[in-house]
Every structure is written in structure tokens, then in C-alpha cells.
Amino acid sequence: GAGVSQTPSNKVTEKGKYVELRCDPISGHTALYWYRQSLGQGPEFLIYFQGTGAADDSGLPNDRFFAVRPEGSVSTLKIQRTERGDSAVYLCASSSTMNTGELFFGEGSRLTVL
């Protein structure tokens, strides 16, 4: 596609539920990032993929968070047993270069945990 596509744009769920957020990067971009942004804060790094593998997952806050990119394109961020503190905008970004070149962000998925 022309840009990074994220679905859903909005997700409201109840505490304890499981959530999946999807990211479709720009075609041909090998690097894919997930960030989380709370109101009034900068994007907080979660995980970085180079191809199919997670090159750096040190930003995932705990084992409830997991992300995959099985074919090196679309990625899914999975959150188990959601908590109210997980509420935020989850941003996906892709890049054509390996080492922190320009990031192209999607519109984000706003997650609200009630």
C-alpha cells in the first residue's frame, strides 16, 4: 500500500480480555517497529522487527505483550489479559533501512481498556 496501515483504528475492550492489533507496513520495508503513546507523551518503543525476526523486543513491558511478523510483512501485536494501564495509542512504523532511518508511521490503533 501507499502508507502504513493499522487496524483497528479504535478498540474498546474489557479488562482481562485478549486483543490483537494489526500493522501492514509499506511494501518492501524490511524494518517494522511498534511504539506505544500515551496522552502527552512521546512514543515509547516496544519492539523492532528486521524481516521475520524480532531484532529487539526489550521494550515489551511484560509477558502479556507479544508480537509476530511471520512472513516479514504484516505484523500483529498481541496483548493478553488486558489491564486499564494498557490503554494508549499503539503506533506501527516501517522503514526501508536497517539502522534507524526515517520511520513512516501509521495512524495508530487507539486501545481503551475499561
Binding site: Y33, Y35, G40, Q41, G42, P43, E44, F45, Y48, Q50, A55, D56, S58, G59, L91, A93, M98, N99, T100, G101, E102, L103, F104, F105, G106, E107, G108
Partner: protein, 111 residues
């Protein structure tokens, strides 16, 4: 841990006034990037600086990378209402694979 800090957190200006935001890193950076996020939008890349002491201009925006490659600034001359948004600096940390963002400077411009 390694951090990227920005000041000020908020800046309110009258249209036509200048604006500057400052970014400081706790470690030397290989490069620094600047992004702009409009209200309700997503971060959009503005520029990347790589060389020590580098200065780049984009119309009314001037970006500077410090000699020690630990700080950077963004200066906007004669602000316009279209400049409204939050400006973030970001630098690669640790292994170089993760881009760490500052907290941003939120700019409002009164017409």
C-alpha cells in the same frame, strides 16, 4: 538508562514569533531525527542529522546537531498557525536498532 530529553514541554507563541525546542541525549548519538505530530495525528518525519555540528534548513525551520552529537535544536522563524503540533526528537540507543523519542515540545500558535 539512556534518555532523550526535550525542553520546553509546552510553548505558546503569537503568530509571527520565533520558536525553539531543544533536545539533549545522555549519550552520544550516531544521528538524530525530528518528527512533527499534529493534534490527533501520527508522527511525521521532518529530517535526520548525522554529522557533528550539522545545520540543515527547511524553509522557516532550522535544525542543528551539536558538536558533541549529544544535543540538537529546532528553530522555527516567524511561526504560522500551520506549525501547530508536537515536535519530537529521536535518537538511536544501545544497539542502534531502536529509536528513542523525547517527550516532545507542544507548540501552540495564537493567530
Amino acid at each position: 538508562g539512556q534518555q532523550v530529553m526535550q525542553i520546553p514541554q509546552y510553548q505558546h507563541v503569537q503568530e509571527g514569533e520565533d520558536f525553539t525546542t531543544y533536545c539533549n541525549s545522555s549519550t552520544t548519538l550516531s544521528n538524530i531525527q525530528w518528527y512533527k505530530q499534529r493534534p490527533g495525528g501520527h508522527p511525521v518525519f521532518l529530517i535526520q542529522l548525522v554529522k557533528s555540528g550539522e545545520v540543515k534548513k527547511q524553509k522557516r525551520l532550522t535544525f542543528q546537531f551539536g558538536e558533541a552529537k549529544k544535543n540538537s535544536s529546532l528553530h522555527i522563524t516567524a511561526t504560522q498557525t500551520t506549525d501547530v503540533g508536537t515536535y519530537f526528537c529521536a535518537g538511536p540507543m544501545a544497539s542502534g536498532s531502536r529509536l528513542t523519542f523525547g517527550e516532545g515540545t507542544q507548540l501552540t500558535v495564537n493567530p
